[in-house]
Symmetry: C2
Subunit: 339 residues, 2 copies
Amino acid sequence: MSESRNRQIVLAQLPGSGPLRLEHFVARDGARPVPGPRELLVRPIVLSIDSASRAWMNGPTYRPQLVPGDVMAGYALAEVVDAGDAAFAADDLVLADTGWQEWATVPATDATPVRRVAALTHHVSVLGVSGLTAHLGLHDVGRVRAGDTVVVSAAAGATGNVAGQLARIAGARVVGITGSPEKNAMLERDLGFDATVCHRDPDVLGALRAACPDGVDLYFDNVGGPLLDVVLRCTSRNARVVCCGAVSAYDDASAWSGLRQVPGRVVTHRLRIEGFIVLDLVDRWADATANLVRHVESGALRVLEDVLVGLDRAPEALIGMLAGENVGKRLVRVADDPG
Amino acid sequence: MSESRNRQIVLAQLPGSGPLRLEHFVARDGARPVPGPRELLVRPIVLSIDSASRAWMNGPTYRPQLVPGDVMAGYALAEVVDAGDAAFAADDLVLADTGWQEWATVPATDATPVRRVAALTHHVSVLGVSGLTAHLGLHDVGRVRAGDTVVVSAAAGATGNVAGQLARIAGARVVGITGSPEKNAMLERDLGFDATVCHRDPDVLGALRAACPDGVDLYFDNVGGPLLDVVLRCTSRNARVVCCGAVSAYDDASAWSGLRQVPGRVVTHRLRIEGFIVLDLVDRWADATANLVRHVESGALRVLEDVLVGLDRAPEALIGMLAGENVGKRLVRVADDPG
């Protein structure tokens, strides 16, 4: 790589309400950026591929909408190359929204220092936003209890597989929902899920009722859409629904006629449906991270990662993930681990 | 009335998914019932007419479904005539599910003693389930705070008018939604609502946005249906939706294509949608009642009651209420106040 080159993946056009495709992106060689005051120059090592990125293209969320010409946004584990006057040192590791590029400048206040305690990739998967979302959603928002029946959608995904394993560790009965028998077999065989359901089952309601004979006490929902209505019909009294994403709607806004179980069932079964964004709960990250590290080190929590190599593969990594092809956290390796 | 006669209103047929009509009921003269062990013989004085009664005809809720031949169920303020061996005295006042009849036996454990502190009818309106639902929904579930913008649907109804007034007393800005300009004028003129919206307004979303320039912090929802989707689009971050009923669906299950703002907006705006049944919170009734009595006695809380006279008018009282014709709590007086 030349001294000043900076390979970047740029959003060429917005996908609108249809599926994201390769032609919505373009790669270009830009110049390596120069950090301003209180900015860090960083080198992304591993990109976190997140379904939320697709929602950022549809309108303002908790961040402004992405527009054509933007370097595609996204978090990465990155190495600090030039800390300038900021309270970081060269070679420090940080998590930051670097975007999809080889070099980036980020405000020092937006970079989260990472103290390496595990394989570098784990800091972007089980110890990153995906794992934190699972832990905080399950415990702080969902208040999981031993004996609960917990259902997790997108259960082989980055957040879902961790949420399901953490529920098992908390003493719950865990039922995973995915789109494929292969993923379901893996969840039961390798991750200790008690039962699984395929959302393509023509009688998904019957299958879920059979898997949850005492009703669903906690639904960790990553997908929204018609599946949410199905799960709501299986809830027990005082059940909780943790809404952590609505990936079914990000890439296809047209398919769904709307929820029918809210508010009728919410009243009769005293349900609580609550949404959260992991960034709101930063004061809880240290505790959650310590728990996650402990469970990974003990072997109770298996780490599932799905890594593609090379920055140029980032678009296909995201597109494939939105189509459900990943198993575990999808990552793109942009550079080797620092020596 | 003869010594042994017991006029009763019986459910003659189920309305199915369509509107309730007079022919779904029939009046008959039964025999005065004889209390068994641990039962009270009571004489209903004022029937509480509640929209939940309509939901009881559609399937099991928190009680078994009503079926043809049942005396129509419902709560009343009643006088104990024969207390048998129970810890009540003749002439005691109780709230109980007597059903729509002149005489009833009820298990003593299901009768709530009433210590008269106000006009008898108030014990079935502002101090009854309607007022308690408003108080507990607003404070315990919704956690209203001074400065909140609170929106109340069915705001001229039995629960809604109390919820709106209590929100005003708590220091919130209060916006009421009803189906008529006359009700809205009354809410602003007589009950201190800050603004009102008519749900029949062709641009109800625009009207609600104009009435809530800083967004909706708390929605006290009595109706569900498409209006819930509209209000969800106006929510502020961390808003709460208290689901206390879904009256729009009880009497017409066909009209609605489904909610589209859940879970997408629930995630992006960190919403909490929570249902409750006032019967779950009996340990909070004494506190709430004391507050309600205090506000009624100070004049801060105006009592709105809509009373029809005569047991035989109970069906039209319910049917009319489901069509939105009542202003305040609808009651049917079955007997004079005890002397």
